[in-house]
């Protein structure tokens, strides 16, 4: 051993202790630095000196390196957890915001809906009250406003994702560039054999921050550089970072792409991922449910409202709120098929019943329009309405359907009963009439003829092959058209309940009518009597009252079973048949059974009652009349779709609003189905709707559907919160684990300081000892 060597070892020890103190100092200094990893001085004893005899003598301590204490696996897990926790936080805050928007259980749509139906129920108690009517309309407005507000705020929330994502992507770009820069520095430093502990710490921290924004995968290179794959796209490769940009796809969906290749990034995690998921999935899915409810509400409420009668009585004119667009661009509005005309609600294959009432005589004429959206255009529909007597219908220049009644007439679409169903007079009417015994079609032999004599005037009716599509199955309508062509003004033919009726135009006992069969025997084929038959004065008055309670549209046909005078002829009866020809009931109107003209009511079926006036009826001449009993006077939904007399306009949460006409004049609220101001039967239908299960809402009622929606939202928020708490906890656990490995414990560092201090003192002592030894030796030599 040489003294020099001893001094060298001492120096090394001093250096090691000093570095140890410095490291501890660095650790203490960075105890609160985010992302800092604890550093540790790694010492090793120096290569020993070979002494004589094979002994090895140590030469002191070597400082190997300053080690950074990091568990790389843990760091990876922590990065992932970082993303999950940040995503869960965004998720929770979004759901919480949505929950606030719904404002349940108080003050939300649920309450508005309840309030609306409550108002309807109150109006039902006094349908004539204008204040209560106004209450229903206003409650409807509040409800519609509630939907509008919700849709608006949900839309705003959804759109806010764009701005937020843009901000976050900017951060992502900055951090990506930072990582690339750090990569360059680290590679350069480590290539020269240095340790880049602090740079690595910084890089880890930046990557960690990035992983909170998006799903980031890390690829470590041997050179020490770190590549980052963000949302499946390589964004940082060594020293090069690819910037990202944000744009709106179709004005609604936020899209993140790379600036250079325009590749679309598909974010799964982190805050950006959560925001995008909210924008494209959670929010629209929830809104589509709210929209579905708004749509169903408009459809169902309008179905009832369109078939009601307002306080102001029957309509004299109506304009549709739907305006036809020229969707096929041929310059003509309304010539597209109804199924392709862009109406806000689907028009079904069904029937619409239009009733035209003479305001003076209160006589009404009901017409059935068969609506087939696959073969009918809006123009066809208008034409069908226009064909109805005393009604004008057309499309105006902006494509809206206008219906107008002649002066003195009113129209409606209600399912009310025709109180005088035999205004034509085919059931013992004042004028003589003949009817076929059964319903068409009939097997006719053509050409055929028969004569009709009214009084002294005779006319011959000719039936030709051209009058029929198939003479062997001649329909009543074809017969009616063919006969009316030849009858002139003496008589008229009509289809009554599927039977052909020929009736004289003059009434009274002096009018006699006779039919006579000619070539081809058409009367025999039709099963018509030939007469003569005289009229009577006055004719039998038939009145129908009550409310139809059946569930399907029904036509009751009444026919005389015998010939006789009502209330006089013993055993006289009237048979009532339903649409399929089944006997419903037999009404006793004979001697001692019925007092005609006294208003006595006979029960028919399903709430319908009938009363007869005095007079003669005849089975021989096929006396018959029919009563249309309607459960749904518009099974086609044409009125709802076109917006004729609707309560609500619009078909989504955002577009829902109360018909402005009703807001201006609550009298237009169709509370009844007849033109009596006290009739609240349409409100009763609304109330029934309240509890009804609706197929379009998955067989639930409005309130149940909404309740489920709110409940689901509650579960969603609760589960988002639970997820957030769990992810945070996991994050905290991992962070704690990281702290265990990489964190600075001040006590430890203190101990280290003391230890290194003592080592320094000891090393100094060693040096001074070696120095003393050498001085001793020098003295010996002197």
């Amino acid at each position: 051993m040489s003294f020099g060597m001893g001094l060298g070892a001492g120096l090394k020890a001093l250096t090691a202790a000093r570095l140890g103190i410095q490291t501890a100092g660095q650790n203490v200094a960075n105890a609160n630095t985010v992302g800092y990893s604890r550093q540790r001085l790694l010492l090793a004893s120096s290569v020993p000196y070979q002494y004589v005899g094979g002994m090895q003598i140590g030469t002191g301590v070597d400082v190997r390196t300053v080690q950074r204490l990091v568990d790389e696996g843990l760091e990876g897990r922590l990065r992932m957890q970082n993303g999950l926790a940040a995503g869960a936080q965004v998720d929770h805050s979004r759901w919480q915001e949505i929950e606030e928007l719904f404002a349940e259980p108080d003050g939300g749509i649920g309450q508005m809906l309840g309030e609306f139906f409550g108002r309807v129920g109150r109006l039902q108690t006094d349908a004539g009250d204008r204040a209560l009517r106004g209450g229903v309309v206003q409650a409807g407005k509040v409800l519609a406003d509630g939907f509008n507000l919700l849709a608006d705020r949900m839309g705003t929330l959804r759109r806010s994702s764009f701005d937020e994502v843009r901000g976050l992507v900017r951060q992502l770009n900055e951090k990506g560039a930072e990582v690339a820069e750090l990569n360059l520095q680290i590679v350069a430093m480590e290539a020269s054999g240095q340790t880049a502990n602090d740079l690595r710490d910084m890089r880890d921290q930046v990557v960690k921050e990035m992983s909170a924004l998006a799903d980031v995968r890390v690829l470590e290179r041997d050179t020490g550089s770190m590549d980052l794959v963000v949302a499946g796209t390589l964004v940082v490769a060594g020293g090069r970072a690819t910037p990202l940009q944000v744009q709106r796809d179709g004005g609604t969906t936020t899209m993140v792409t790379t600036v250079d290749t325009r590749a679309v990034l598909n974010f799964q995690g982190g805050r950006i991922g959560a925001l995008l998921r909210h924008e494209t999935a959670d929010n629209p899915e929830l809104m589509s449910k709210v929209d579905g409810m708004a749509r169903s509400l408009a459809l169902e409420l309008n179905r009832v409202h369109t078939t009601g009668v307002p306080r102001t009585g029957f309509f004299t004119s109506l304009v549709s709120s739907f305006a036809a667009e020229d969707t096929n661009n041929n310059g003509v509005r309304g010539d597209e098929l109804l199924s392709q005309s862009g109406v806000p609600f689907e028009i079904q294959d069904g029937a619409l019943y239009v009733t035209v009432t003479n305001k003076t005589t209160r006589e009404l004429e009901r017409t059935r329009i068969d609506v087939d959206p696959q073969s009918m255009s809006l123009r066809d529909f208008a034409a069908a309405l226009d064909r109805i007597d005393h009604l004008d219908a057309s499309l105006d220049p902006v494509g809206r359907l206008r219906i107008q009644a002649e002066q003195g007439y009113g129209f409606d679409f209600a399912s009310r009963l025709d109180s005088s169903p035999d205004s034509f007079g085919s059931f013992g009417g004042g004028a003589p009439s003949f009817a076929t015994a059964g319903q068409g079609p009939f097997a006719m032999t053509v050409p055929a003829s028969f004569s009709v004599t009214v009084g002294t005037s005779t006319r011959t009716v000719n039936l030709a092959a051209t009058d029929f599509v198939n003479p062997a199955a001649a329909t009543v309508d074809e017969l009616v058209a063919a006969i009316n062509d030849d009858l002139g003004g003496d008589a008229v033919a009509k289809n009554v309940a599927g039977r052909l009726v020929v009736r004289a135009n003059a009434a009274g006992t002096a009018t006699t009518m006779t039919l006579a069969d000619g070539a081809g025997g058409p009367l025999a084929a039709l099963g018509m009597a030939t007469g003569p038959r005289s009229g009577q004065s006055p004719g039998v008055q038939v009145e129908v009252s009550g409310k139809y309670t059946g569930s399907t549209n029904q036509r009751f046909t009444f026919q005389a079973n015998q010939d006789g005078v009502i209330g006089v002829t013993p055993g006289l009866t009237v048979g009532v048949y339903d649409e399929s020809g089944n006997l419903v009931t037999t009404l006793e109107v004979g001697r001692g059974k019925y007092s005609p003209g006294g208003g006595d009511l006979l029960e028919v079926a399903d709430g319908i009652k009938v009363s007869f006036g005095p007079g003669t009826i005849s089975a021989t001449h096929g006396d018959v009349f029919a009563v249309d009993a309607l459960a749904d006077s518009d099974s086609s939904d044409a009125l709802v779709a076109l917006g004729l007399n609707t309560f609500l306009l619009g078909n989504s949460a955002a577009s829902l609003r109360v018909n402005p006409d009703l807001l201006a004049n609550p009298d237009l609220l169709a509370a009844g189905t007849i033109d009596a101001t006290g009739d609240g039967s349409n409100m009763a239908r609304w109330m029934e709707l309240r509890g009804a299960t609706l197929a379009e809402l998955g067989d639930t009622s409005f309130e149940d559907y909404y309740g489920d929606l709110v409940g689901e939202l509650g579960f969603q928020v609760a589960s988002a919160e639970a997820t957030m708490v769990a992810q945070d906890q996991l994050h905290a656990t991992l962070e704690a684990q990281r702290q265990q490995v990489s964190g600075v414990n001040l006590d430890e560092e203190m101990v280290d300081l003391v230890r290194h201090q003592q080592a320094f003192e000891a090393a100094s002592r060693f040096i001074s000892m070696v120095s003393e030894l050498s001085r001793t030796l020098v003295q010996i030599g002197a």
Binding site: A31, G118, S595, G597, G598, T677, Y706, Q740, G743
Partner: protein
């Protein structure tokens, strides 16, 4: 290796714990402040699912409780009106009893008739009672007065212009109750019985179904001759005989219907002949009838609407239907024994309601047919029965309203009980137990303070404190 705990771990742990503890306190504070356990659906989604329907149910039940109050108000008002009607009917009965007393003079009776006019007007106004501006007894046509008196050739009658739809209220879940019955069912009762004729024309009820109400006056008038020999025609003098009449001309004297032979010189103008049973026939003859004997028919016309419309009698058929063109009703008359012109008082048994019986008494008092005191008294006495029946009808309505009102009270208390239990259920679901919440809050506060204390200690201490 034992667990390394670092200072920043301590800090973040303490901070987390404090934060959690504070969040718990905040939640409890909100509960105490709002009094509710559930302030948003996520507080307890399962309970939130129950809250919305419960809220709706309570609102419904409150509305129904309002309906019950409304129903009771209407029912009580209607009952009060019927009570007044009942008093009015009693007054009418009193007056009728007085009038039936034979000692009353014609003048007094006319005076009484005027009083009955007033009673009728009162009755109509009772039928037109209103609550607010709604007519109580008009069905759903509640914006116009349902009853009106109409006087025309056919007499006085009351016309109902309301409808037959009852006003129905939802009094309890699933219970729609007809609160107000339409006035026609209340004031116009029909339990039709037989039709009776009072008169000497020989016309009789036919047994076919008639539809008149109360009294009708059947006028039987002469309508010319049929089957008379040439030269013989109806004179302008009074003809009371109807139906088949024989004539015989012998020795310059003419006998009609087996009556005394009257010597005549031709031409005969408007000469009245008398039959064996005292009926008269006014004839004009230009010459002696050929053949000398034969049978002619004195045609007849019937009317029950004061002559507005008539029905000619076909003596070959035994039955004639007479229509009241003003009211739309019919009367079937057996004319087999019809032999004399005149009037028949037709009574439709069982059709007397308050209106028709008052009208009948008044018309009897007016005595437009000029009947004797005894007849009028007898008829008034018989009308007492009709008045009583009509009164009974009113009382029946009154009883019905009474029991309905009582029933409504029961329903009302049930609805209130249901509402209370729904409120309780809601309270149980969404309200916070204040005592429990406050205790929990205090507990949380204690925990929070303890956590603060402990944290501050742990964070403060370090080896540094002891290294000197």
């Amino acid at each position: 290796m034992s667990l390394r705990i670092t200072q920043s771990m301590l800090y973040s742990r303490s901070l987390d714990d404090l934060r959690r503890s504070l969040a718990g306190s905040t939640r409890l504070q909100e509960m105490v402040a709002t009094g509710r356990r559930i302030n948003r659906p996520s507080d307890d989604p399962a309970a939130a699912l129950r809250i919305l329907p419960l809220n709706a149910e309570i609102r419904d039940l409150e509305r129904m409780a309002d309906n019950v109050a409304l129903a009771r108000e209407s029912l009580d008002l209607a009952a009060a009106n019927l009570q007044d009607t009942s008093s009015l009917m009693l007054r009418a009965r009193e007056l009728t009893v007085q009038a039936a007393n034979g000692t009353m003079s014609e003048r007094d009776r006319q005076g009484l008739a005027a009083e009955f006019d007033q009673l009728l007007d009162q009755l109509v106004s009772l039928g037109n009672s209103r609550r607010g501006d709604r007519y109580l007894f008009a069905g759903t046509r509640s914006d116009r007065a349902p009853f009106a008196l109409v006087t025309d050739a056919a007499g006085t009658r009351v016309v109902y212009s309301g409808d037959g739809n009852p006003v129905s209220l939802e009094l309890a879940p699933g219970l729609d109750s007809d609160v107000l019955v339409p006035g026609d069912r209340l004031f116009l009762r029909r339990e039709r019985g037989a039709t009776t004729f009072e008169g000497d024309t020989g016309a009789a009820p036919s047994g076919a179904s008639d539809s008149g109400v109360g009294f009708d006056l059947l006028r039987v008038t002469f309508a010319g001759l049929a089957g008379a020999p040439p030269g013989m025609s109806a004179g302008s003098g009074p003809t009371t005989a109807l139906g088949a009449l024989t004539w015989s001309f012998a020795g310059g004297a003419l006998s009609i219907g087996g009556g005394p032979a009257v010597p005549v010189t031709f031409p005969v103008t408007n000469q009245t002949f008398t039959t064996a049973d005292g009926r008269t026939v006014s004839l004009s003859l230009s010459a002696a009838p050929v053949p000398a004997t034969g049978t002619l028919t004195a045609e007849a016309e019937l009317s029950i609407d004061g002559g507005t419309s008539t029905a000619r009698v076909d003596f070959a058929a035994s039955e004639v239907q007479v229509r009241n063109s003003l009211e739309g009703t019919v009367l079937n008359v057996n004319v087999a024994a019809l032999q004399r012109t005149g009037t028949e008082l037709v009574k439709y048994e069982g059709t007397f309601d308050a209106f028709t019986s008052l009208i009948a008494v008044r018309d009897t008092l007016r005595n437009t047919r000029g009947e004797s005191q005894q007849t009028v008294s007898a008829r008034l006495t018989s009308l007492l029965g009709e008045l009583d029946a009509a009164h009974e009808g009113v009382l029946g309505g009154l009883r019905e309203f009474g029991s309905r009102s009582e029933n409504t009270i029961l329903i009302g208390s049930r609805v209130q009980a249901m509402r209370d239990s729904a409120r309780e259920a809601l309270s149980l679901t969404q309200d916070a137990d204040l005592a429990e919440s406050i205790v929990a809050f205090n507990q949380q506060q204690m925990v929070y303070q303890a956590a603060l204390g402990v944290s501050s200690r742990v964070i403060q201490t370090s080896l540094l404190d002891f290294l000197r």
